[in-house]
Symmetry: C2
């Protein structure tokens, strides 16, 4: 199997009630590729500037991430985002966004990327997602993510993408915004009418629900005493989810369920340190141990 | 085994965004006894006025609830509560409380109630809970509930009760208030230091967590598209939980886990209609079917 991820690679400046980190590496593609790398060898399509640290590229390679689709723009500056979390980790203010090289990003997939088994359109604009979809032979599975900004500014393009994908990773805010439904169960079900075969509704600290026409799976989030940095939790969830599916090579109901648990496990690691730091020390055995621990936690 | 429940029986006037019901029967004792009645034959200790409907007493008896400990005060009026829920079912304003016969309630347990296997001190004041504790031979299990009002007005008496009980049913607000911890995992663990062997932390639509010194169990809430009336969900949870434990007759870890699932199942029924209405049509088979459905929902 093979997994191609298209998304953002960024510098993030992150402020939490307890700490502040300047220009650490983040981005939807980075988090999801690293999480997926514990299950498969993801290929990424993204753009960075010349300021992007070689050490991070080396770390991604060491984790088995294929960087053939990573464009480095000579003289360019990497996408920059700054955000501040409140005492409640769900409360996030975006303080600054500099698109930089992302402004002119028109991803062109390397020839070897054009027939993936799984394609993940991470958080980029819906028109870029369409641009990517036009370059691939129909994969077995196309998954997508989006954000409030695109729901509000590019609803038509987003509608078109939603109609073509198999899995839509939504969070609670996005689900409510798209459907106008407050109740998340109704919102999740109604998202299926937008096109996807499966809707993965991520509820942060409250877990996730997966909706299909004849499918419902629910998972609580692993209890976490200390959230150091919630950034990238959703991307890590998607990366673990799709990486696991790529590894098992089938889309059976039980595989989808386990994929969600692995997604949740990867998110639970991501938030234990700033940025992608936790993935540096993480071992595959740690992932399996946490899966087993979670299974014990919820079994009855 | 035997289960004695001490708590309130009340008239509730309930307003939700869609509806309003005047003076329907409610109360912590009523909900928890009805939920428990699907597993065992609970005995209740409570007080009502002469205005309490005989039809409700008959219904409780039909469900196997022992009313020997229910005092009917001649000429008295039953405890009255009025509340209004917002669009978010977690948002509740208490509009009116008339204690009526509850004001002078000093529960005296019938002789046949004084050696229960399980004693549930539902939502009554901590000094009344102490008064009850003084009348029983040490049961195998004592569980308690309380509310914000008693945490704020009777902290010393509450502390004393917490030190003697085995299980404390707390909700998220109460856990945060008692411990000063925002993070619910830390709050739940810290509540153990108040005395109980187990803390059952109810998180409403987000499920529940059970903390013990060497025990942790988590359960999501059953996804619910329509919450008609959230009143009594927590009491029904506790009733189902303790009723199931009374039925199985042991306190093994797996029994505690299943008790929580049955508690959650009973709460999920309670909120499907106003007041105790849903329990009128509910059959034991419905309970088992929902347990099985939930098991399927969360299995992986």
């Amino acid at each position: 199997m093979s997994l191609v991820i298209v998304g953002s690679v960024a510098f993030d400046t992150i402020e939490t009630p307890g700490d502040r980190k300047e220009r650490i590496v983040g981005g939807s593609c980075t988090y999801s590729a690293l999480a997926a790398s514990f299950f498969t060898r993801p290929r990424i399509v993204a753009v960075v500037g010349e300021d992007f640290p070689k050490s991070t590229a080396d770390f991604l390679k060491k984790r088995g991430v294929d960087l053939k689709g990573l464009t480095i723009v000579p003289g360019g500056k990497t996408f920059f985002w700054e955000g501040r979390y409140g005492d409640d980790p769900n409360q996030l203010d975006t303080l600054r966004v500099d698109l930089n090289v992302f402004l002119d990003f028109r991803p062109t997939l390397p020839a070897s990327y054009r027939a993936p088994d799984i394609l993940f359109l991470a958080n980029i604009s819906p028109d870029l997602q369409e641009h990517v979809l036009a370059q691939v032979k129909r994969p077995r599975l196309v998954a997508m993510d989006t954000i409030r900004y695109y729901i509000e500014t590019q609803p038509e393009a987003l509608d078109r993408v939603l109609r073509t994908v198999d899995i839509y990773f939504a969070n609670d805010e996005e689900a409510r915004l798209l459907t106008g439904e407050r109740n998340l169960i109704r919102a999740g079900r109604r998202l299926l009418a937008f096109g996807p075969r499966l809707v993965v509704l991520k509820k942060g600290e409250h877990g996730a629900l997966i909706f299909g026409p004849d499918f419902l799976f629910g998972i609580m989030a692993r209890p976490c005493e200390t959230v150091v940095d919630p950034t990238g939790a959703g991307d890590s969830f998607a990366g673990g989810f799709l990486g696991y599916l790529d590894r098992v090579g089938n889309l059976r109901a039980m595989s989808i369920r386990r994929a969600a648990v692995y997604g949740s496990v990867m998110a639970s690691f991501a938030i234990e340190d700033f940025g992608i730091e936790r993935f540096r020390s993480l071992k595959p055995d740690d992932v399996e141990a946490r899966f087993a621990e979670f299974k014990k936690l919820v079994s009855f």
